[in-house]
C-alpha cells in the first residue's frame, strides 16, 4: 500500500511539471498545445537512449532531453507562433501523430515494444532506485520548476508576458517583441515537458509509445483547465487531482476520455477560471464581461 501511494506521488509530481509547463503555453503565450505528450515522449526516449547507448549519467541525460525537446519546440514554434492562435493546436496535434509514427517505425526506439532496462539514476554513488529516494528527486525537480516559473512570472520578462496575455496589440505598441516571447515560452515549456519525460523514463525503466499519445496530451490539458488557465497553483492542484482520481475510480476507466471531453466543455461554459483557480493569476480576459 505504501509503495502504491509512493508510486502515485511520483506520478503526480511528474504530472505537476507537465501541467505547469503547459500552463505557461496556455496562460502566458495564449496558445493551446495538443502535443505536450509528444514532447514528454521525446524527452523520455532521448533520456533513455542517452543512458542506454552512451551511458550518460542521469543529470546529463535529463539535460540532454531538455535540450532536444526545447529544440523541437523551437522548430515547431517558429513557423506557427507568428500566426493566429488556432494554428499551433492543429500543428501540435499533427506533431503528436508524427512523433507516434516515428516512435513506432524507428529501429532505435524499439518500435511498438519500446525501450526496456533504462537505468535508475545514480548520483554520487547513491542509487535512486528505491521509491522514497526517487520521490525526493521528483520533489526536488518540482520545486525547481515551480521556483523557476515563479521567478519568471515575477521578472521583467514575466511582466512582458502578462502584458501580451492581457492585450497583445498594446504590448506590441509598447515595444515588446510578442512573437519572440511566445516562441521562447513555448520552447521553454517543451523543455520542461522533456524533463518530465526523463523523470518518467528513469522511474518506470520501461517505455513504449502508448504512454505518450493524444490521450495523455488531453489529460494534461484537462489538468490545466480544471486548475484554471494561467494559475500556477491551480495547475499543481489540477495535476494532483487528475493523477489520483482515475486511480481511485478504476471501474470507470472505459469512461475516462468521455468524462475528460465533457469536463472540458462544461468547465469552459460554466467556470472558465477553473474549479481550483483563485483568480489571482488567472486570465481575467478569458471570462466574458
Amino acid at each position: 500500500m505504501a509503495a502504491y501511494l509512493l508510486h502515485l506521488a511520483i506520478l503526480a509530481g511528474i504530472y505537476i511539471i507537465l501541467a505547469v509547463s503547459l500552463n505557461l503555453i496556455i496562460g502566458y503565450a495564449g496558445q493551446v498545445s495538443l502535443g505536450h505528450a509528444a514532447f514528454y515522449g521525446i524527452g523520455a526516449y532521448a533520456s533513455a537512449l542517452a543512458a542506454l547507448h552512451w551511458h550518460f549519467p542521469f543529470p546529463l541525460a535529463a539535460l540532454g532531453a531538455m535540450l532536444v525537446t526545447g529544440g523541437c519546440g523551437l522548430a515547431l514554434g517558429l513557423p506557427t507562433l507568428r500566426l493566429k492562435e488556432d494554428y499551433l493546436a492543429i500543428v501540435t496535434l499533427g506533431f503528436g501523430v508524427i512523433v507516434d509514427l516515428v516512435f513506432l517505425n524507428l529501429e532505435v526506439t524499439g518500435g511498438p515494444d519500446g525501450l526496456v532496462g533504462i537505468p535508475s539514476p545514480r548520483l554520487l554513488g547513491l542509487s535512486f532506485r528505491p521509491q522514497p529516494l526517487y520521490l525526493l528527486l521528483v520533489i526536488l525537480a518540482v520545486f525547481l520548476v515551480l521556483g523557476f516559473t515563479y521567478l519568471l512570472v515575477r521578472s521583467y520578462h514575466g511582466r512582458a508576458l502578462r502584458a501580451i496575455r492581457d492585450h497583445e496589440t498594446t504590448a506590441q505598441v509598447m515595444g515588446i517583441n510578442t512573437p519572440a516571447y511566445k516562441i521562447v515560452i513555448f520552447s521553454l515549456a517543451a523543455a520542461l515537458a522533456g524533463l518530465a519525460g526523463s523523470l518518467y523514463a528513469h522511474y518506470i525503466t520501461f517505455i513504449n509509445p502508448e504512454s505518450f499519445g493524444l490521450h495523455t496530451s488531453i489529460l494534461i490539458l484537462c489538468m490545466v483547465v480544471l486548475g484554471g488557465m494561467g494559475s500556477i497553483i491551480g495547475s499543481v492542484l489540477g495535476a494532483i487531482a487528475l493523477a489520483v482520481l482515475p486511480e481511485m475510480l478504476r471501474q470507470f476507466q472505459a469512461y475516462q476520455d468521455l468524462i475528460y471531453g465533457a469536463l472540458l466543455v462544461a468547465l469552459l461554459i460554466w467556470r472558465p477560471e477553473g474549479l481550483l483557480g483563485r483568480g489571482k493569476l488567472s486570465l481575467k480576459f478569458l471570462t466574458r464581461g
Binding site: 495564449g30 494554428y87 493546436a89 472540458l264
Partner: protein, 287 residues
Amino acid sequence: MFLQQLLNGLTTGSVYALIALGYTMIYGILGLINFAQGEIYMCGAFVAVLLLATGKVNFYLAFAAGMVAAALLGVALERVAFRPLRGAHPLVPLISAIGASIFLQSLALLLFGPNDRPFPIQFTFSTITVAGLPLSTLQGAILAAALGLMGLLMVFVRYTRYGKAIVACALDRDTARLMGINVDRMVALTFFIGSALSGAAGVMMAIYYNATYPRMGLLPGLKAFSAAILGGVGNIPGAILGGLLLGVAESLGAAYVSSGYKDAIAFAILIGVLLLRPQGILKGRGD
C-alpha cells in the same frame, strides 16, 4: 502507374476537399476552427453503415441519412460548444471544441467498439479505360459525387439569398446584422451545410476503404485542415483546390518517397505553407 497514383490522389483529395469546405466555411463565418470536424465525418459514416446493416433501407436513403445526421450533429455542436462561448478569447472555444471532439470519439468507442466495420453492402465495380487511363468506377463515382456536391455548394453560396447572407456574415457580422440578417441562424446554417458535406465525405470513405471505426476522423480531419490552410483558410474554391492538391501530393509521395510516412506528408505541407505562404495559395482570411 503515375496516372493511376494521380487518380487515387484525386479521389482521396476530393474527399479531403469536402471536409476542408466544412473547416473553411466555419472559419469564414466565426473565425474559429471546428476541431470536431473529423468526428462529424465519422458520425456520417456510422449512421449510413448502421442503417444499411439493418437491411431495410436502400443505399441512397442511407447516404442522405448520414449527411443529415452529420449536419444535425454539427448544429448541436455549435449550440453546445460554440455559441455559449462566442465573444470570449479564441482560446476558449478552441479548447471547448477539442473537448467535444474527444467526447464524441470516446462515445463512439463505447457505443460501437474499437473494431473496423466493413461496408454492409457490396457494390460491383468494374474498371473501365478512359483515354488510356484505367479508372475504377468506384473512384469515378466518388469523384463525381464530391465534385457535384462542391458545385452545388458554389451555386448555393453565389446565387441564393441564404448563400449570399452567409457570405455577408463572413465579411462583416455586425453590418450583416444591421442589414436584417439573422446572424445566429446563418451560423447554424453554415454548420449544417459544412457538416453535411463532411458527413457525405465520411460515407464515401467508408465505402472506399471499407472500414468504419471511431477514430477514423482524426487523420482525415487533420489533413483536411492542412488542405484548408493550403488553399487559403476561409476561401471556398481554395479549400477545394487545397484538398485535391493535398490528396495528389500524398498519393505521389507515398508511391515515390515513402509509404510508411504517408500520413506525415500532409503535415510537412502544412508546416511548409505556414512558413512560406500562411495566407494559402488563393488568398484566404488567415493572417
